[in-house]
């Protein structure tokens, strides 16, 4: 059940260059969230910016909920300036969670850049479900890597400053070539071109793959119809990222 709450900020930290965690206190939201869901957050109470900003829920610690984001514009700049005790207008938890409890043994978590955000919470849940986890983490350079609270992390950087030189999907491809993975399932989140490459690889390798998408959404709750993604089959042409996603089986959608 989604809730709209004014909640206090409990901490804010810069964990890598331009990348922040922001935590808030909300027992209700923390108790009802599942991995892959998001919250829609107001950065301020004026009209600039006007709309809420959607963020994956990154971690849940007791009654606290942690978000992970980088500063891209005015809204995230304002959120990055929040201090302990500031109040935050939060709507959530929203969206369809990852299908984490299926018939598979090994979770291959693939994160590009800030796409890592939902995976600490997924990792906690998968460990509780006794799944084997291998995490593939990609970033432009070593200073943008955020490997905290993940399991079995393999690293790729575009410039080779740490780990595999190349894309995170390239790294996964190499890994699958060299390892026999027992009953795998992929969970991916990151930029669109990365997710497209990941969906292609999953199809070639015949591995089930769920991706978490970003959408340009005004409301996050299905009112504005602003965040369509094309379906690969069925009568309706589009699905809404906010209420039918943000997680999708990569076979069910056509990434733009």
């Amino acid at each position: 059940m989604m809730l709209q709450r004014i909640v206090p900020v409990t901490s804010r930290e810069e964990i890598a260059e331009g990348i922040f965690t922001l935590s808030f206190q909300s027992k209700e939201i923390s108790e009802s969230v599942s991995p892959g869901q998001f919250v829609n957050v107001r950065s301020g109470d004026a009209c600039l910016p006007l709309l809420r900003r959607p963020f994956s829920i990154s971690r849940v610690l007791g009654g606290e909920v942690e978000l992970l984001f980088n500063v891209v514009g005015q809204g995230t700049r304002m959120l990055a300036a929040k201090r302990q005790g500031d109040m935050l207008d939060v709507l959530g938890p929203l969206g369809v969670p990852f299908g984490f409890d299926g018939e598979y043994e090994t979770a291959l978590i693939v994160a590009g850049g800030l796409g890592v955000a939902p995976f600490p919470l997924l990792t906690t849940t998968l460990k509780r479900n006794r799944k084997t986890i291998v995490t593939f983490l990609g970033a432009r350079t070593a200073i943008h890597l955020t490997p905290a609270h993940l399991e079995n992390v393999q690293v790729a950087t575009d410039d080779g400053s740490k780990g595999y030189r190349g894309t995170v999907v390239g790294l996964l491809r190499e890994y699958l070539r060299q390892h026999q993975v027992s009953r795998p399932k992929i969970f991916g989140c990151g930029p669109m071109n990365m997710l497209k490459a990941l969906a292609d690889l999953a199809r070639e390798a015949n591995i089930e793959c769920e991706v978490s998408l970003e959408g340009d959404m005004a409301c996050g709750i299905g009112l504005c119809q602003g965040c369509p993604v094309e379906r690969s089959s069925g009568k309706k042409k589009y699905a809404l990222v906010c209420v039918e996603g943000p997680t999708f089986n990569s076979k069910d959608i056509i990434l733009p």
Binding site: M1, M2, L3, Q4, R42, C47, L48, P49, L50, L51, R52, D89, L91, G215, D216, M217, A218, C219, I221, G222, L223, C224, Q225, G226, C227, P228, V229, E230, K236, K237, Y238, V243, P256
Partner: protein, 314 residues
């Protein structure tokens, strides 16, 4: 006790705050968050005869104090609406205004006639002003004779309130308002979104897939107020004021310039309880100011300047 309600062609609206079409779905999406029965009414998402997929992404762009949308009237179609949404809407204790959009005059008539056979609908709002579709929509809304024809064809089909939603993307909106009043419309909704655009300077492409879209939000409130004021000078029938209303103060401004009621739109995306907060705010304002009826605010603007003077530079 302050009187909050008003009536239109025999339909009672419990207060003067409705939610605008396309910003509140079909009312069921937000039932966890909002006590919708506290609203004066719900204008549904536009309905056409057949379901519409809507436009490809990107459909939404935020702009300073506003947003552009190019949804393209994505909707489930009138048949699915009757099957899937109307049973829930019927259980609500608030006015249900069904918004209709079409790409031909006949389609407007067909949708309205089918809805006339259903229980639980209090009135119709006719969308002739969507800027985001090729056929119908704005083509009709910017053509005064077409707007007049649609109203004239629909009027005999229903005894319920018929409200025509007008576009600001014309030279004189009051001409269109007069035309629909002349054909028997019970009210007008003023305004729909303004045609607008945003560009990504990195890719040098328009940000919206359809190049232009409709601007809404606080950015358009001053324009909307001037349009409501213009129409109020020209008409006897009521006006639903729409455009960037976020607060009680905003709503009072619209009432003062001549709106009988207001519709809250974009604000629902940020806080779906905005409408009921404003309804409560209007009642409190009336109490504090010793009014017996919120309606005493309607058209109560004090201005020394005759409208004819304004018209010369409008």
């Amino acid at each position: 006790m302050v009187k909050e309600s008003f009536s239109l062609r025999g339909v009672e609206f419990k207060n003067r705050v409705l939610v605008a079409s396309g910003t509140f779905g079909y009312g069921d999406e937000v039932k966890d968050l909002v006590d919708v029965n506290k609203l004066g009414g719900i204008c549904t998402k536009s309905l056409s005869w057949k379901p519409r997929d809507g436009n490809p992404p990107r459909r939404i762009v935020e702009t300073p104090s506003g947003m552009l949308n190019s949804i393209g009237l994505a909707n489930i179609g009138v048949h699915n609406f009757i099957k899937e949404k109307l049973p829930y809407l019927r259980t609500l204790d608030t006015a249900i205004i069904v918004n209709i959009v079409a790409s031909s005059v006949q389609e407007y008539c067909d949708v309205l006639s089918l809805l006339e056979q259903q229980e639980g609908i209090d009135g119709y709002e006719i969308n002739v002003s969507c800027p985001n579709v090729k056929e119908g929509g704005l083509n009709f809304g910017t053509d005064c004779s077409k707007t007049r024809e649609i109203t004239a064809r629909l009027r005999p089909l229903t005894n319920k309130p018929l409200i025509v939603k007008l576009t600001p993307n014309v030279t004189h909106i009051s001409e269109f308002a007069r035309a629909v009043e002349g054909e028997g419309a019970d009210a007008v909704s003023v305004i729909n979104t303004l045609i607008a655009m945003a560009v990504d300077i990195r890719t040098k492409k328009p940000k919206l897939s359809t190049v232009t879209g409709g601007l809404s939000g606080p950015a358009i409130k001053p324009i909307a107020l001037a349009k409501v004021y213009e129409v109020a000078q020209a008409l006897r029938i009521p006006i639903f004021g729409i455009g960037g209303i976020m607060t009680t103060e905003d709503a009072i401004e619209f009432l003062l310039v001549g709106a009988t009621a207001v519709q809250v739109g974009t604000a629902n995306f940020i806080d779906p309880t905005t409408g009921i907060k404003i309804a409560e705010g209007l009642r409190a304002y009336a109490e504090q100011n010793g009014l017996q009826d919120v309606g005493q605010l309607v058209g109560a603007l004090e201005s020394n300047v005759a409208f004819s003077v304004l018209q010369s530079w409008l």
